[in-house]
């Protein structure tokens, strides 16, 4: 699975357990501001905890804090994969 490291995909398409660094948040200033308030911003190291069936919400962790966000919102966060965690 090592070949996924360095790849850039959206938070929505990341697999649960993968770690990564946020490269870019698209979707306008308003969304970026809401994201930033909860610590989702460029350069932030994150880990995806879980996703749900049928394009359900995504749960990510950064530091000691966990944030749940809808699938659509997660699609707007581009992440560079930095590691796998099994």
């Amino acid at each position: 699975m090592g070949n996924t490291i360095g790849k850039r995909i959206s938070l929505a398409r990341m697999r649960a357990g993968q770690k990564g660094k946020i490269v870019r948040v698209s979707g306008g200033h308003g969304l970026a501001r809401r994201f930033e308030a909860l610590g989702i911003r460029q350069g932030q190291e994150i880990k995806k905890i879980s996703d749900q069936w049928m394009r359900g919400p995504v749960l990510l962790q950064h530091g000691n804090s966990q944030v749940a966000l809808g699938f659509g919102m997660a699609s707007k966060v581009l992440v560079e994969i930095t590691g796998e965690n099994k």
Binding site: G30, R33, E36, A37, G63
Partner: protein
């Protein structure tokens, strides 16, 4: 002088507020428990000072209504006001974002680092002195639920001062990163059991079974405790202790007449029958205290535990996809669960949803499809004698109505609903004292709200019968009540009283000797057709008159349709 308690959502501002004022404000383990600011008085150096529990906010650049309120309150401050900025010690980086913004306002500030006890389990150590030197305001470690550090916090409020910290807005996160790196060291540690359980609760393969088991156990436990209390405590107490006194009083009052019937009610074979007598001191006290209170207690015991443990936001993740079909997102499960206790706090908590559209949909389907504990207790008590399968039909029907109405409203109401976006707090083992206090607050609230209305309801029932109003209205409404719903004419009395209290309304069905089918229809219609007066006024306040009228129209029509259908389908 005022003191403003400010901080991110779910960092324990309300717990600090309770500690400082001795007040009793509901606290839970999820963001947005405080949707309205609360004021209290605390003593500071022999003076009475106003303390304000401001709704949680992540930033002073408001992104929703609760945050807007917070910012407005901050902007209204006068020169001698003080901000107590409550931060989460285990989440220093995110908390400092707000702290720096607050310091920029140059208001005298004290930083209270809450959840200090948790830093140890999480391998975090924070150098308070260094932090104080950097922020240039007093910093105090506290643990609000146990009260540790609260005295020091009060002491140091006097030292609050505007910070001289300067930073470049563009470099804010860089600055925060530097501060965190400077004051915090993290030692590696393994996942705790609670963290493993937390992960399992939000992954579909394990999370769905956990949700089903949790809800099933919750339901079983509520029934077990509720029924146990009624059967072994409440009924014996009323029958062995209260009845003899009431019989003596009945004799004193001459065993008959208007006053006797109002106070004691009709005796059934010379005895008091709490289901049928309908006197103020018999049925009027038995319904709220003997039949409903045990279930209210059991319900709030279980709900409060789940709240404080932190399960609700995780349940919100698991039901998010389903709730999207109803034009809502997962967090809307919180008002629905609260509504199962009492619709009033349920409707109030729809404020955790961002848009007007979501609040309209959720409040409407809540008022129609979510029966309160008082109604449920009476329905289980009455219909349960005909078998729990019948009670299941009532719950099943209401659930389907809730679902269908939500889907319909999602299509009809203009606009789109936003996605879920919420912080998920860690699981926390509830403190016994905090939990029991919360249950006590809720019980007290129930007794204060319910008992007067139940008594008023029983009084009105007596007046309605005495003046023959029920018969009169019954004849007018006969086409609907008897033909469409298949209920006897007198059942209209229950529908009239249902505006006041649904539990009394169900109680009025007891003397009518209805069949199981009629009881099912009456229970479903009573749950749906209109909210009780307490919920009604809350709905008007939250939705406004126009939306409330729309909502009421939906209630009346859907209850007639569903009641009529049940009458056709059931045998």
């Amino acid at each position: 002088m005022k003191i403003l308690l400010m901080g991110n959502p779910n960092v324990g501002k309300s717990a600090v507020f309770n500690r400082l004022t001795g007040a009793n404000v509901i606290i839970s383990n999820y963001a947005g428990t405080t949707v309205e600011f609360t004021k209290g008085i605390m003593r500071l150096a022999g003076q009475q000072v106003e303390l304000i529990d401001v709704p949680g906010t992540y930033t002073l650049d408001p992104t929703n209504k609760a945050e807007q309120i917070a910012v407005e309150m901050l902007n209204e401050h006068t020169d001698d006001d003080v901000v107590v900025n409550v931060v989460e010690s285990t989440n220093l980086e995110r908390s400092l974002n707000l702290t720096l913004q607050l310091l920029k306002h140059k208001i005298p500030t004290v930083v209270a680092l809450n959840f200090w006890d948790e830093t140890k389990h999480k391998g975090i150590s924070i150098d308070i002195e260094k932090l104080e030197n950097i922020l240039k305001v007093p910093c105090v470690p506290i643990c609000a639920v146990t009260g540790e550090g609260i005295n020091q916090l009060v002491e140091r409020i006097k030292e609050a001062k505007p910070s001289s910290l300067e930073y470049d807005e563009q470099e804010k996160w860089h600055e925060i990163g530097n501060i965190v790196e400077n004051v915090q060291t993290i030692t590696h540690r393994h996942h705790t059991l609670l963290e493993k359980l937390s992960d399992a609760s939000v992954k579909p393969i394990t999370g769905i079974p956990i949700a089903v088991i949790m809800l099933f156990l919750a339901f079983k436990l509520i029934r077990f405790i509720g029924e146990g209390l009624i059967g072994y405590v409440c009924e014996p107490a009323f029958e062995k202790l209260w009845s003899p006194m009431m019989l003596k009083l009945s004799n004193l009052l001459g065993s008959e007449g208007f006053v006797h019937d109002l106070v004691i009610g009709h005796l059934v074979e010379g005895q008091i029958d709490y289901g049928q007598s309908f006197g103020l001191l018999t049925t009027g006290l038995f319904v709220p205290l003997g039949a409903v209170l045990p279930y209210v207690f059991a319900f709030y015991l279980v709900l409060s535990f789940l709240e404080d443990f932190g399960y609700l936001p995780r349940l919100a993740i698991m039901v998010d996809t389903l709730m999207h079909r109803l034009g809502l997102h997962g967090l809307a499960i919180v008002p629905m669960l609260l509504g199962l206790g009492c619709n009033v706090p349920g409707v109030l908590s729809t404020r955790i949803l961002e848009t007007r559209r979501e609040r309209f949909i959720s409040a409407t389907i809540l008022a129609i499809g979510v029966p309160c504990a008082a109604l449920q207790a009476m329905v289980v008590g009455l219909l349960g004698k005909h078998g729990m399968a019948r009670v299941g039909i009532v719950y099943g029907t209401l659930f389907i109505v809730w679902l269908i109405l939500g889907v319909l409203l999602n299509h009809i109401v203009k606009g789109r609903s936003p996605e879920i976006f919420v912080e998920i707090p860690p699981y926390r083992i509830p403190y016994f004292r905090g939990l029991s206090k919360k249950i006590w607050i809720r019980m007290k609230w129930f007794i204060k709200e319910a008992v007067p209305f139940v008594l008023l309801g029983v009084l009105i029932v007596n007046l309605l019968y005495t003046f023959g109003i029920i018969q009169f209205v019954g004849e007018i409404t006969a086409p609907v009540v008897t033909r469409v719903l298949g209920l006897p004419q007198e059942a209209v009395g229950a529908l009239i009283v249902g505006f006041l209290r649904k539990d009394v309304a169900v109680g009025m069905l007891i003397p009518l000797g209805l069949t199981a089918k009629q009881l099912i229809i009456a229970s479903v219609v009573l749950a749906m057709y209109f909210p009780c007066v307490a919920t009604f006024t809350t709905l008007v306040k939250e939705l406004g008159v126009v939306d409330m009228l729309k909502s009421a129209g939906i209630m009346l029509i859907s209850s007639l349709v569903v009641g009529g259908l049940l009458n056709l389908v059931l045998t």
